[in-house]
């Protein structure tokens, strides 16, 4: 059963509709990605899901209960990591966390222990007594995430948590999120980096112009673009000789040869790859290099919207 069900969310500002009928569900332990370009409506959607923004239509159910702006019981289950760093710069990391923890009813030893834990998870323990204004951008980002973990949420909502973070910190953040999902936390994750969505998310919704363009697992989405992977092979000598054998290989749907290069379209590269190699060497060509290119969400997005994900 899904932990959260979002149906037909709508938000309008004056005459423009910025979220237009968005629906999705997320199960426990599942990571759901909202992928979309700037201005797609990701933050607006998330704000309505979390309950910090009144919606104009639609509904949210969390753990079987209606979740509204004023629902305290369901709010207590959500950990929210806003897109902008939402911390008090004049307070230390520890003071920030203690304050936000208290809002969730933590107190005393329990609170201190939890603060220590999230500092540890985000690798900030050593500088926890410094004012946040002295933090680097990446550290502040990590603290921003730590604040969303304090209440041991059942649903963790992260709005572009890796924006402007160096690759190392980004890796650490993604690992931490994956670990939490492994512990059964449902994760709602927005990003406009398709690599993150591919690596982290079990399912992805593609949002553009406030509408959900497509939704599904990576593979499901990719299949929308058409058949599977591209395999690029370079050989010694002329490649054309290998074409007939390759065309007879099951799983290969198209073959193009250009001097020493072969470009194949295959359904499932992992299964077909040995057969392809056999066919090429059987035709008397020595393989110099081979590259498998899986179609990515970028391609999906391009196909769905006619635009690149990032401009």
């Amino acid at each position: 059963m899904s932990l959260i069900e979002v149906t037909d969310l709508r938000k309008r500002y004056r005459s423009t509709t910025v979220v237009d009928g968005v629906s999705f569900t997320i199960g426990e332990g599942e990571t759901y990605g909202l992928l979309g370009p700037n201005g797609a409506g990701k933050t607006t959607t998330i704000a309505m899901v979390v309950g910090v923004l009144a919606r104009d239509g639609g509904g949210v159910r969390l753990a079987g209960r209606a979740h509204e702006v004023t629902s305290l019981a369901t709010k207590a289950m959500i950990g929210y990591v806003p897109q902008e760093i939402a911390l008090y710069p004049d307070l230390t990391a520890r003071e920030n966390l203690a304050f936000f923890g208290r809002l969730y009813g933590l107190a005393g030893r329990d609170l201190r222990r939890r603060v220590d834990e999230v500092l540890d998870v985000t690798g900030l323990s050593e500088r926890s007594r410094e004012a946040v204004s002295k933090y680097s951008g990446g550290m502040a980002r990590r603290l921003n995430i730590a604040a969303g973990l304090l209440n041991r949420p059942r649903l963790l909502v992260l709005d572009e948590p890796t924006a402007g973070v160096d690759p190392q910190s980004r890796g650490a953040i993604l690992d931490a999120v994956a670990r939490l999902a492994g512990e059964g936390v449902a994760v709602l994750y927005t990003t406009h980096y398709m690599e993150e969505a591919e690596r982290l998310c079990d399912r992805v919704g593609i949002l553009d112009g406030g509408r959900m363009r497509a939704e599904g697992t990576h593979r499901e989405l990719v299949s929308l673009v058409g058949a599977g992977d591209h395999v690029l092979i370079t050989v010694d000598g002329a490649a054309a000789g290998a074409v007939p054998a390759l065309e007879r290989t099951p799983g290969v749907t198209r073959v193009d040869a250009d001097e020493a290069r072969l470009e194949l379209l295959v359904a499932e590269s992992r299964a077909v790859l040995p057969l392809i190699l056999d066919a090429v060497t059987g035709a008397g060509c020595a393989v110099r290099s081979l590259e498998v290119r899986e179609p990515d969400l970028e391609a999906v997005f391009l196909k769905l919207t006619g635009r690149a994900l990032r401009d």
Partner: protein
């Protein structure tokens, strides 16, 4: 909610802007204003008067005038001599006590309005005491009809004069003789009717800057919205209303703290005399609420921190001037009328009433008016607040 208030207070106590608006500027300006020569001798005004008195019986001159501090008394042999002393400028005013007249007549020097006014009050108070004494005598003599009493009975010299039971009358008269307090208290009222300049300026500036302190509360909310922490507060299991209420309450507490510091600091550093602590506290609390209410009502019309602070500043300026925060406003027609809309005016009025009558009842009316302003401001804020809260939620 307490958590939010505590966090706000902690953050704001570290905030130097607050220190600047809440304490440094008002104290500094009050000090500046009160050291500017204020017409007469420039020093914080201490009342002193020279009175001439013609009182053949000597009871008024001795018992009443003799007990007053800061008053020099010259006895005159006749009403004419007393009037002469005033004319020559040797006395600010003269009392003429005539047998048969209840109230001593006051002859005043037009150039000494305060001393003359005080003299009138003393005379009135004395007359009131005598009326009370006469009633007491009547009450003590059931046999005598009211008409049996003759005006001109002098309580101090009373034994046997009344037509009632001699024992009762004597007892009442003795009681009066033992209690010169009513007049001296009343005279005290008159003497200290006006706030001294130091206190006036300290109080005026305190209220003036209270608006700016209140603005920091408002802009704090807008800043939290822009900074995203407000979204975090709203995402937590806390009612959105409670978040705003906590912010408002925190603002009131900060206002109270600033006023408290100002009262103490101006008393210690500048020698201001605010009055009895409890009554001052009531007045201060009412004033902080009024300013908070007005600020809230203005702030809910704004879309951002800057707009809010511009609007509140403009209104604080106008109210400050007409409300007499910088200088007393009198005889300016419309401005004087408009002054009654300013919390400054009522606060200062409350303080000067308090300077006269040290009881808490003296501040009741100003305090109630201030609370009324608070309620009105709060009501407007709540009425428009739904939309403002929505705007907060929509950011």
């Amino acid at each position: 909610m307490l958590t939010i208030i505590a966090n706000d207070l902690r953050r704001r106590l570290r905030d130097t802007t607050l220190l600047l608006y809440g304490v440094v500027l008002p104290l500094g300006l009050a000090f500046l204003f009160s050291t500017v020569p204020a017409g007469d001798d420039g020093r914080a005004r201490e009342f002193a008067a020279r009175y001439a008195v013609s009182d053949p019986a000597g009871e008024f001159a001795g018992r009443v005038l003799g007990s007053l501090p800061s008053v020099q008394v010259r006895r005159a042999a006749s009403p004419a001599e007393a009037a002469g002393l005033v004319e020559e400028g040797k006395a600010d005013a003269a009392f003429v006590v005539e047998p048969g007249a209840e109230t001593p007549r006051v002859i005043g020097d037009v150039d000494k309005p305060v001393a003359v006014q005080v003299a009138r009050e003393i005379a009135e108070a004395y007359a009131a005491e005598r009326r009370a004494a006469r009633l007491a005598l009547l009450a003590a003599s059931p046999a005598s009809p009211a008409s049996g009493d003759v005006p001109g009975t002098v309580p101090g010299t009373v034994p046997g004069t009344g037509s009632g039971t001699p024992a009762g009358a004597a007892e009442a008269a003795a009681g009066i003789a033992r209690t010169p307090a009513p007049v001296s208290l009343a005279a005290d009222t008159a003497v200290r009717r006006q706030l001294d300049t130091t206190t006036y300026h300290a109080a005026g500036m305190a209220v003036f800057f209270l608006f700016f302190v209140a603005v920091t509360t408002v802009s704090g909310i807008f800043e939290e919205r822009a900074g995203g922490t407000l979204a975090r507060l709203l995402a937590a299991p806390v009612r959105p209303r409670a978040v705003l209420a906590a912010k408002a309450l925190g603002g009131v507490l900060v206002g109270l703290a600033c006023m408290g510091v100002l009262v103490v600091a101006s008393t210690l550093l500048m020698g201001a005399g605010w009055g009895p602590p409890l009554a001052v506290a009531v007045l201060v609390a009412a004033c902080v609420l009024a300013v908070s209410g007005i600020t809230a009502a203005i702030a809910v019309t704004a879309r951002g921190a800057e707009q809010a602070s511009n609007r509140v500043s403009a209104i604080a300026m106008v109210l400050g001037v007409v409300g007499g925060a910088f200088f007393p406003v009198t005889g300016l027609g419309f401005a004087e009328f408009a002054g009654w809309l300013a919390p400054h005016r009522w606060f200062l009025l409350g303080l000067s009433d308090l300077a006269g009558d040290q009881s808490i009842g003296a501040v009741a009316v100003p305090a109630l008016v201030l609370l009324g302003m608070a309620a009105a401001g709060g009501a407007v804020a709540l009425a428009l607040g739904g939309r403002a809260a929505e705007r907060v939620m929509n950011a």
